[in-house]
């Protein structure tokens, strides 16, 4: 198990390096530059600024410099926000984004798994049928539609929850964004859980367990749930990818001060280092989350560990 984990962790580094390299050059391909938009600068000032940040040097040299600085943990200065470093900007936004993502993940798993189990056990029951409708709705609708609609209903009409914004230490601000982000995830997990539990319950070893005289609850807890969870767990990888991009949307909709806004604004401002920093953080997060899902999968299903990579 440890060997498997180490091999997988080592596999992340080259992928990240490729991602960073491609992003670095693609970002530079775009027309304009960090000091070309916005307030017009005198040509001399601009040249001076570009010299200061090393932007006048050959691209390959800049790439080498960036990687060298990165190896020392330095993400560089932000070009568009004066006196700010990329690391500082990300460090200030990441706690909000992380809280949102983790809350949504917890909400989705804690609602999706029981919903799916219940729907599988009472097939064609009221819950099972409403699950189908719920899944069709939430999976079809993007969060920039559900978000404002939820804010309108629960924030403006019912006045239960804050509409948007963020004050430190008020978890109420997080409820609507987290629910918005969690809805489609919860539906997918419930559907997966339902289908896989139905399949497992039809297996012959479950019949054997029942035939040996074990009660329904015992068979469910001891024999059926663990194998039925495997597809759900492997879905957590794609789910993490969804959370990373979904949080960008939800942060915009609810005006949360997370890191999401830096990506779009940074790309528009040609703030090269900021975009690179965002690619690094979100890329690493996605890869690590996929890795974590695979590791849990290997733990649940021993066959995976022994497969050659």
């Amino acid at each position: 198990m440890l060997g498997y984990a180490l091999r997988r962790i080592a596999g992340i580094v080259p992928v990240l390096l490729i991602l960073l390299t491609v992003s670095f050059f693609v970002i530079r391909l775009a027309p304009g530059g960090p000091f070309a938009s916005g307030r017009a600068l005198p040509a001399r000032t601009r040249a001076e600024l570009e010299r200061l940040y090393g932007l006048n040097r050959p691209l390959l040299v800049q790439y080498g410099d960036y990687l060298r600085a990165l190896a020392h943990g330095n993400l560089g200065p932000s070009y568009s926000m004066r006196d700010e470093t990329v690391a500082g900007l990300i460090a200030s936004g990441l706690p909000v984004s992380a809280a949102l993502g983790l809350a949504a993940l917890a909400l989705a798993v804690l609602s999706g798994v029981p919903l799916g189990v219940r729907a599988a056990l009472r097939r064609d029951g009221a819950l099972d049928r409403s699950l189908a409708v719920f899944a069709a709705l939430t999976l079809a609708l993007p969060s920039f539609v559900t978000g404002p609609l939820l804010a309108l209903a629960f924030g403006l009409w019912l006045r239960w929850l804050p509409v948007a914004g963020w004050q430190p230490d008020t978890p109420r601000d997080l409820i609507l964004p987290a629910v918005t982000l969690a809805l489609p995830l919860s539906a997918s997990i419930a559907r997966l859980m339902r289908a896989s539990l139905l399949e497992v319950l039809g297996a012959s070893y479950i019949r054997t367990a029942r035939a040996r005289g074990l009660g329904r609850a015992r068979v469910l807890w001891r024999h059926a749930l663990r194998p039925a969870l495997v597809p759900v767990v492997s879905y957590l990888g794609p789910a993490a990818t969804y959370l990373v991009t979904g949080s960008l949307v939800v942060e915009t909709v609810f005006e949360l001060p997370g890191t999401g806004r830096y990506l779009v604004q940074g790309a528009i401002d040609r703030d090269y280092t900021l975009v690179m920093g965002m690619v690094l953080v979100y890329g690493t997060l996605t890869l690590l989350a996929n890795l974590a899902a695979d590791l849990i999968h290997a733990w649940l299903d021993p066959r995976v560990r022994h497969e050659p990579l």
Partner: protein, 285 residues
């Protein structure tokens, strides 16, 4: 798997699909007609300002039956115009995706061997990347308001699933007797592909294209929502929803009308696509 086992896994609402499919197809037809003829059928233009009627709620005046926005622009015209743009971009981006996906999938499946392994590895790697993230960066860098770039960026990320499906089907078709017969009759590889493999793939391609349209519309709306897509005064459903969300305290209809249209559009396409998949695509059973 035979059909009977599938019937066990389906629940009652899934077995009632045919009726829902007809309804969905009818709704799509209505929305397409609205997008085609709606903007011209109204006396107003999507960008015409009416200073006498600012922020009118729906149903208050006979002139603007769905109301107006804060600049006095007619909400009905803007919504059907946005619907038109969203549909056009959705369908064209789907076409781009289908082209790439089918070419990639058939080539990998038909040639097989190392090329296949390498091409599918590329798909696997791309699968792990967050699409929306990439589209966002590309759109912000290259294509603010540039519809061609927008189309390419959206279309270039949607083809992965289709490439997988098409490859799997090409692989299984390749071993069938009628393909062998066609080869034996002296047809060249490309001829067999074009005349015998592609027509047999048409069903699944149609299914996935139907499911892809709503996805592409979502991507486009999302980019427009963030201000990276179509530029004002033009509108797509996404930019209308964005504008509506900003004013939902004073004028909730500006959010509810375009959001409602988008919801009906997306749900209809999804129901139709899922239904078609159950009917046409045997690999899913």
């Amino acid at each position: 798997m035979p059909g009977s086992t599938r019937a066990c896994v389906m629940n009652r609402s899934e077995r009632r699909r045919p009726r829902a499919m007809v309804l969905a197809a009818a709704l799509i037809a209505v929305l397409v007609l609205l997008a085609l003829f709606g903007p011209e059928a109204s006396p107003y233009s999507y960008s015409a300002l009416d200073w006498a009627h600012l922020s009118i709620p729906p149903g208050l005046t006979a002139e603007h039956w769905l109301g107006t926005d804060s600049l006095g622009r007619d909400l009905y015209v803007r919504t059907v115009y946005g619907l038109r743009l969203s549909l056009i971009i959705g369908v064209l981006a789907t076409a781009v995706s289908v082209l790439i996906g089918v070419a990639w999938g058939t080539l990998a499946g038909w040639v097989g061997g190392r090329l296949d392994a390498w091409m599918m590895r590329v798909v696997d790697v791309l699968y792990a990347l967050p699409y929306l993230f990439i589209v966002l960066i590309l759109a912000a860098l290259f294509g603010r308001g540039n519809l061609a770039v927008l189309l390419l960026a959206i279309g270039a990320v949607g083809w992965l699933t289709l490439a997988r499906v098409v490859r799997a089907q090409t692989l299984s078709l390749k071993r069938r007797e009628f393909i062998e017969a066609a080869r034996a009759a002296g047809l060249s590889g490309p001829q067999v592909l074009w005349r015998h493999v592609l027509p047999n793939l048409a069903g699944s391609i149609a299914v996935y294209a139907t499911l892809m349209v709503p996805q592409m519309i979502v991507y486009e709306s999302f980019l427009s929502f963030l201000g990276l897509g179509v530029e004002p005064p033009r509108a797509s459903l996404g930019s209308l929803i964005n504008a509506g969300a900003r004013q939902m305290l004073t004028a909730p209809w500006l959010l509810l009308v375009p959001a409602g249209v988008l919801i009906v559009l997306l749900l209809s396409f999804n129901i139709l696509g899922d239904g078609l998949r159950d009917v046409l695509d045997p690999t899913r059973r």
